[in-house]
């Protein structure tokens, strides 16, 4: 994806890496037994450990560790047999302990990679530097009440995976593809629900620019708060252009943390290098080094589902789908499963078309996720069967689909109840054709000279029969009536 910024003095290249915070799917928090569900009454999911009460100690949640290892395996990453939890010290009211327990020098997961699928059908690897486990902070609610800041500690202590990419991203759109692929993988392995609106997937971007061909990296800025797929590309592009403008006018990019303002579509300075915190990381003396044994890693490896890349390759080779269609179908595991259920024993390409065009369209119109799809895969399969048998026409099939999607009724039952069976009896169609030809002598004359106008008659017949007539048969009968057969 060759993407450059044309400056006054030449072409500039983007160098970008992403830091993603993914909330681990787990009933309990990383170091306490408090529950993690989103949207609970403020401060109702807080244990004394989360609240940083005196004498409270963290106890590592083994399930969160397994989730991190699973994710690491899905990212084809090194799993570190020994990792260390450290304290990242800073003061903030939503950080009750005065430090965040995180991993610093020895994270649980090391180098891995993600393949992003480019629009031209090729793939590109974006390196993963590391994945580490850490606690989330609470939430500060400013301005909810005049003159005070309210603190909700429900989120405090919830397990996060910080997934850091290499600075391999070269185009704003690649960042989006990376995020989408990462989200897809996380959802496949069931370690993060990927919900960006609820904040279970959050993204910061490290952005720098350099002249095309320059092997050196420029000074980077960290852009915080690029928390929707929509804004990621915008924020990165804005920031890259800002840096190019500075450099081209002879200025220097200051290393700083910037915040993306979605409303204004720009980034602005949050804090400079001088104001950067000294986090005074040191190993948390309340926790022992985390040691993973081979048996656990192998068990988790065996539990991994087929991942998006492998599934996409299989859909191309086994079902003969295009790489693009396969990519669309595998993005969500549930959608891929749905497709496979529909395709089983049927024409797979046909099934893919119906799932991608009709089903995804209907879901999008209703704002539903595939998991909440009201039309079971067997029902969509039934529609395809009705089509294949010639019981209904393609047009009717779409009606039946919409009806089944909306009402939940079985397609066959809809066809029977509404009498939507395709009319294939020439005797029933011929009088309709004859009447039309008789009523429209001028059109009939035109059609004889220009056979393209035959379609008009076919359309009229279809309309008159409520779409139930077999279109091929109608075509034949019209031609015959016009003497074109």
């Amino acid at each position: 994806m060759a993407w450059t910024i044309a400056g006054r003095t030449g072409e500039w290249e983007l160098v970008c890496g992403l830091e993603v915070h993914a909330q681990v799917i787990s009933k309990a928090k990383l170091f306490s037994a408090a529950a993690t569900e989103f949207g609970a009454e403020p401060n109702s999911r807080v244990s004394p450990v989360d609240a940083g009460m005196p004498g409270m100690l963290p106890v590592l949640n083994g399930f969160c560790v397994e989730q991190a290892v699973k994710t690491g395996l899905a990212l084809e990453a090194e799993i570190n047999r020994v990792s260390i939890f450290e304290r990242k010290n800073y003061f903030y009211p939503d950080l009750p302990q005065g430090y965040q327990i995180s991993q610093y020098q020895q994270p649980i997961v090391g180098r891995g990679r993600i393949l992003i699928d480019l629009p031209d059908g090729t793939s590109r690897a974006i390196g993963i530097t590391r994945l580490h486990l850490e606690q989330d902070a609470g939430k500060s609610l400013h301005g909810a009440r005049e003159g005070v800041t309210l603190i909700d500690l429900n989120r405090c202590g919830v397990a996060l995976m910080e997934i850091v990419s290499e600075p391999d991203i070269r185009a704003p759109e690649e960042a989006v593809l990376y995020l989408k692929k990462l989200r897809s993988i996380l959802r496949y392995v069931g370690t993060c629900d990927g919900n960006m609106e609820e904040g279970s997937l959050r993204c910061d971007a490290n952005v720098s620019v350099r002249r095309v061909g320059d092997p050196r990296f420029g000074t980077r800025c960290e852009i915080k708060n690029v928390n929707s797929m929509r804004f990621v590309a915008k924020a990165i592009e804005y920031e890259a252009r800002r840096q190019v403008d500075i450099l081209e006018s002879g200025g220097v990019v200051e290393q700083e943390t910037r915040l993306f303002d979605a409303a204004r579509g720009e980034t602005r300075s949050m804090r400079g290098k001088e104001e950067a915190h000294d986090y005074r990381y040191f190993p948390d003396p309340d926790l022992l080094p985390l040691e993973l044994d081979e048996a656990l890693i192998e068990r988790l490896r065996a539990e991994l589902p087929e991942l998006p890349d492998a599934k996409r390759a299989r859909f191309v080779s086994d079902y003969g789908l295009s790489a693009y269609d396969a990519g669309v179908l595998v993005a969500e595991r549930a959608a891929a499963d749905y497709f496979e259920a529909v395709a089983k024993g049927r024409d797979a390409k046909f099934a893919a078309n119906w799932v991608i065009n009709e089903l995804f369209g209907a879901l999008a119109r209703r704002g539903l996720e595939i998991e909440a799809c009201p039309l079971p895969a067997e029902a969509l399969g039934e529609i395809l069967d009705l089509l294949a048998e010639g019981t209904i026409s393609g047009k009717i099939a779409k009606e039946v689909f919409q009806e089944a999607f909306d009402s939940g009724a079985r397609p066959r039952a809809i066809v029977e109840a509404k009498g939507l069976r395709q009319v294939t009896d020439a005797g029933a169609i011929e009088p309709v054709v004859a009447k039309l030809v008789a009523d429209n002598p001028q059109q009939a004359e035109n059609a004889r000279k220009n056979p393209k106008i035959v379609g008009w008659f076919v359309g009229q017949v279809m309309k008159a029969t409520g779409g139930k007539a077999n279109p091929a048969l109608v075509n034949e009968l019209v031609k015959k009536a016009l003497g074109l057969g």
């Binding site: 004394p48 940083g52 009460m53 100690l57 005065g98 430090y99 040191f282 003396p285 309340d286």
Partner: protein, 492 residues
């Protein structure tokens, strides 16, 4: 049966089980002694009502022939252990009104064993000190201070209240915590027994943290047997503390015989300090003689990194403390002094809530963890700590336990050394190594100084070998026949 408060744990237990005395009766005697001796300032919070209710319940169980190993025995608890519904201050203004909604694991075990809570004892603020003079609730007076002698002697620290309460016969036993000597040094200054078990033996859950990798709970009593009995009830694995050891707790008190025959006792040559009072030197040599006389073999061993122990300790402990004490920010509990803005509120709260010594250690700890200094201080200290552990491993290849003085001096007077933190830190010279290596250690009263103040000897053991430590301590106790009584106790 007067002077019930003078009974030790084992004696009292026997009498309680025989129903010769009642738990309520015993508790009342202790509460009365506490009241008479309030001048010692040993307690921050007395809990007479709770004590009597617990004693009544204990009497009921004893009457049914039931009850745990400490049934009906009144004890005092260092005010660093969180006690549900009972104010827990850590000796600090910042927690002056803090009432925990939870119980520490150690105290929960004690109540499950039938013990009775008399109150929460005074301590150096956040356990930082060797004299109990840094407490926001005032200094504790050593009961060995003769009447009219002023200023009074310190009881040592940080568990000074517990040590004074046990030494002054306010209670038969008390809990303490020991991060750099905070049980053993006050035990030595007050003429009682104080044991710190192996790191990980007692759960730290619910104990206000000072330095997490060094903190360990332990016991004070007037005899080795009593200390063993109390410690046994405190110890044991706790899933709520990731650093607690999943090991069974031996029957220390039941197996205690004081037999040292055939044991090899190491004398670390580096513990002979220049300028150490000769009476300490003499006491140490006498202790060695007692053990030799009872059949032990004395061997000289070397702990070459001893001289780096204090600097190492005073890097590691403040580093951890600076982080552990970050939670006292005035936001959720404890003192809040509202300032102009958030940062000002932090500064005022912590500036007014913490005393000078705590502030000093937070500053030291923050400094040694800072970017640019971490490697030179914290990381280096961790490496030296490893060397110190290896010193002990090498020494224990040649002996079963070590004998050393507990502290380089007897108790000093309140106010002495208070303007010189380094001189104060030197109190811990013989005790911090044990914490750095996570070993069990005990102080046993072994004699009196020329000024008539108690002096203790320390026995250090291998990891998890509290049994040998107690055996050697018992042998010393028997030989020392320490019978002297503190002059500063008000009798009934």
């Amino acid at each position: 049966m007067t002077r019930l408060e003078r009974l030790g744990l084992v004696e009292a237990r026997t009498l309680l089980r025989r129903r010769a005395i009642g738990a309520v009766e015993l508790t009342r005697a202790c509460l009365a002694a506490m009241e008479r001796n309030r001048a010692l300032n040993a307690f921050i919070t007395e809990t007479p009502e709770r004590a009597l209710a617990m004693a009544e319940a204990a009497d009921a169980r004893l009457a049914r022939g039931e009850g745990g190993p400490l049934e009906g025995l009144p004890i005092a608890v260092k005010d660093l252990f969180c006690t549900e519904g009972v104010r827990t201050t850590a000796g600090s203004k910042i927690l002056a009104n803090f009432v925990p909604p939870y119980e520490s694991t150690v105290t929960a075990r004690l109540w499950a064993a039938g013990a009775v809570l008399l109150g929460k004892t005074n301590l150096d603020e956040f356990a930082m000190g060797s004299s109990n003079t840094t407490s926001a609730f005032g200094p504790v007076v050593n009961p060995w201070t003769p009447a009219g002698s002023s200023p009074p002697f310190v009881p040592g620290g940080s568990s000074g209240g517990s040590a004074a309460a046990v030494a002054g016969f306010l209670c038969p036993a008390a809990t303490g915590t020991d991060t750099g000597g905070s049980i053993r040094q006050p035990a030595s200054f007050c003429g009682i027994v104080g044991i710190k078990p192996t790191y990980g033996r007692c759960s730290r859950f619910g104990i206000v943290a000072f330095a997490s990798s060094l903190d360990q709970a332990g016991a004070f009593a007037r005899s080795v047997a009593d200390a063993a009995l109390l410690l046994q009830a405190m110890a044991g694995f706790d899933p709520k503390d990731s650093t607690s050891a999943e090991l069974p707790v031996p029957d220390w008190s039941g197996e205690l015989r004081g037999r040292v025959k055939g044991l090899r006792i190491g004398i670390p040559k580096e513990y002979r300090l220049d300028g150490m009072p000769s009476e300490i030197e003499t006491l140490w040599a006498r202790g060695a003689d007692w053990l030799r006389a009872q059949g032990a073999e004395l061997v000289e061993v070397s702990l070459p990194h001893t001289r780096y122990a204090l600097p190492t300790y005073y890097i590691v402990a403040p580093a951890e403390a600076s982080s552990n004490l970050a939670r006292y920010d005035g936001m959720r509990y404890g003192l809040r002094v509202t300032g102009r803005d958030l940062v000002d509120t932090y500064k005022k709260t912590r500036g007014e809530g913490f005393g000078a010594e705590v502030r000093r250690r937070i500053l030291i700890g923050t400094y040694v963890l800072s970017a640019g200094y971490y490697d030179a201080y914290y990381l280096k200290a961790q490496k030296v700590r490893r060397r110190i552990v290896e010193d002990f491993e090498a020494a224990f290849a040649r002996c079963d336990a070590l004998l050393t003085p507990t502290a380089p001096s007897a108790a000093f007077r309140i106010g002495e050394r208070s303007d010189d933190p380094v001189a104060m830190y030197l109190n811990d010279v013989f005790t911090v190594t044990v914490n750095l290596a996570g070993l069990p250690g005990i102080s046993v009263p072994a004699g009196l100084s020329a000024a008539g103040l108690p002096l203790g000897l320390q026995v250090i053991g291998k990891p998890w070998d509290e049994a040998t430590v107690l055996e050697v301590a018992r042998a010393l106790e028997e030989a020392a026949e320490f019978r002297a009584l503190p002059p500063g106790v008000v009798e009934a």
